[in-house]
């Protein structure tokens, strides 16, 4: 019990962020028309590409002689970038079509 309470007070900022973001995430897309389901999914897909930042940190901290870390980190940066760039470009292509006839 003490452990749990300690954990909560040590990480309270993070816990606040998590809880608030859950509500924001739900609230923000609550009234999306079904027309936009696919682009929205694609856009959200690009946003979770933020994981690339973790890959950059891994890569940037790896010792220059640790080839395993360098190799895996390099792969992670490539995959993360694919997720981010591909995600935003695909979403833009979908939405470009919605705009054209206005």
């Amino acid at each position: 019990m003490d452990n749990i309470l300690n954990f909560i007070s040590a990480n309270q900022q993070i816990i606040y962020i998590v809880i608030l973001m859950i509500f924001v995430g739900i609230e923000v897309i609550g009234r999306v028309p079904s027309v936009l389901h696919t682009p929205l999914m694609s856009g959200a897909n690009a946003i979770h590409g933020v994981v690339i930042i973790g890959a950059i940190i891994v890569m940037g901290k790896a010792e220059t002689d640790n080839y395993l870390a360098l190799g895996l980190g390099f792969l992670a940066v490539i995959l993360g970038t694919l997720n981010v760039v591909g995600g935003f470009v695909v979403t833009d292509r979908m939405l470009e079509m919605f705009k054209k006839k206005n």
Partner: protein, 475 residues
């Protein structure tokens, strides 16, 4: 100072993610919303590269060559793939990119654990281990969810482009639960006893296998729901990365997508009037033999020639077109718009009735028709369309099946019973274009095709539409 600027970058990026999602859920601002989020992402990425400092040692990042090399390769390949993909293959593409994000999260966990286990084996005492137990837990959880998201997305991708077939066996659900339970307990074991580094690879293997078996039995029609769910999984995996580095932008972005993705998944399920559990456990493929679903062909159907169909439509007051997956595979959206224009010239009112799950993804039809310049106001959502069928002369169904199956309203034993459908049978005449009498995704017969007011117009949607255009023109 520099580090404070980075904090500011992260703050701005987090706000752009929220704003971006908000704008993406409104047709007028959607495109801008995507750009806003992309701008925030760029800010966060370049801020990290140039301004990041380790909290403990204050060291900057190095290996710039590798980082920029990876960014460059990923950016080029990603842009090319996203630009070149056909509109019909969009859903696969989203799944593929989603899998990349999951794999990225899993790789981060692998490298971080490697780093940690080196420190543990080189003189790590119990105190050191105790201080890092929560880190190991986060690494293990990030690995599990990232790997599931990766292998699951790859299977979903393969299924959507037809490379992977449905596959299920009895007890699969139980086996899946057992796999997940073992992976989780291996994670707990690793936290208690971090010296057992090999456990991480067991977790990796089990999670990958779980992802595969989890998606394998789910029917192609339910893939959108699965992709949306895996999308929110990757969001959570990114959030674990945020925990790991105490990085607020990863945390906000990840949790935001995790929550929004989960809601989107539920909204999609609602559009099909099914629960998420039903989609995941009681897949279409699994209980095909149950109920009166797999009954053989029933009664006779009536065929119509292209010229007769053209005649009926040219003399109608109002035509509603119901596009389905058949239109998408045939790439017939442009010629469909052509037919609409020709009919308009003849004074026929034409609108499109879009079922929320027509095609292979919610909104799939809207994207396709928008590509062909069909006006936004001509696309009617299901509720509005259902009010209009009574006053409609001709309904032209292009490769849609389950979304117009009256069994969803009338036959409680049907697997799609309860799904809201387009009530096309209220119109005066129904013309159905299909390639053959084969049932649709759900694998069930459609009564609609055997009703007296329905006529079948067999053939590839694009070819049939071209012929229809030619015929209507000369009337």
């Amino acid at each position: 100072m520099e580090f404070n600027i980075l904090t500011l970058c992260y703050l701005i990026a987090s706000v752009t993610f929220i704003l971006g999602l908000k704008m993406l859920s409104n047709p007028a601002s959607a495109r801008k919303g995507n750009l806003v989020a992309a701008f925030g992402m760029g800010l966060a990425i370049f801020g990290t590269i140039f301004l990041y400092r380790d909290i403990e040692s204050g060291e900057r990042l190095h290996n710039y060559g590798w980082i920029f090399g990876g960014l460059l390769i990923g950016a080029i390949v990603g842009t090319l793939a996203a630009k070149k993909v056909k509109m019909t293959a969009m859903p696969e593409m989203v799944s593929l990119f989603n899998g990349m994000g999951g794999a990225c999260a899993a790789l981060i966990s692998l490298v971080e654990f490697n780093h940690l286990s080196k420190e543990i084996s080189s003189g790590g005492n119990n105190e050191f281990i105790a201080a890092h137990q929560s880190t190991i837990l986060i690494i293990a959880l990030g690995l599990i969810i990232g790997s599931i998201s990766f292998s699951g997305s790859m299977i979903a991708w393969g299924k959507l482009n037809g490379k992977v077939k449905d596959f299920s066996f009895t007890g699969q659900n139980i086996l899946n639960l057992i796999l997940l339970a073992i992976a989780l307990s291996a994670g707990v074991w690793l936290v208690v006893d971090p010296v057992q580094g090999y456990l991480l690879y067991i977790i990796l293997a089990l999670s990958l296998l779980y992802g595969i078996l989890f998606v394998m039995p789910i029917g192609g029609a339910d893939m959108p729901v699965v992709i949306s769910l895996l999308n929110s999984f990757t969001g959570v995996a990114a959030a674990f990365g945020g925990f790991l580095y105490d990085n607020k932008v990863m945390l906000t972005g990840g949790i935001l997508v995790g929550a929004a993705g989960t809601l989107l998944t539920i909204l999609m399920c609602k559009a099909m009037n099914r629960s998420l559990l039903n989609v995941l456990v009681g897949s279409f493929g699994g209980n095909k033999s149950g109920g009166g679903a797999a009954a053989g062909p029933q009664g006779a159907y009536k065929e119509i020639s292209v010229s007769d169909a053209a005649m009926v439509m040219a003399y109608a007051n109002k035509v509603i077109i119901v596009p389905g997956y058949g239109l998408a595979v045939a790439q017939a959206q442009h010629v469909c718009h052509e037919l609409e224009k020709i009919l308009n010239e003849k004074g026929v009112e034409v609108v499109y009735a879009i079922h929320p799950v027509a095609g292979r993804m919610p909104g799939h039809m809207n994207v396709l028709l928008a590509e062909a310049d069909v006006a936004y106001e001509k696309l009617e959502e299901m509720e509005q369309a259902n009010e209009q069928f009574k006053t409609t002369d001709v309904v032209l169904i292009l490769g849609a099946n389950d979304v117009v199956n009256p069994a969803a309203k009338t036959d409680p034993s049907s697997p799609i019973y309860g799904m809201p459908i387009l009530e096309v049978e209220q119109a005066k005449t129904v013309i159905v274009n299909k390639r053959s009498m084969k049932p649709g995704y759900a694998g069930i017969e459609n009564d609609l095709f055997f009703q007296p007011k329905t006529s079948m117009l067999f053939g590839d949607a694009k070819k049939v539409l071209q012929e229809l255009c030619a015929e209507v023109k000369i009337i």
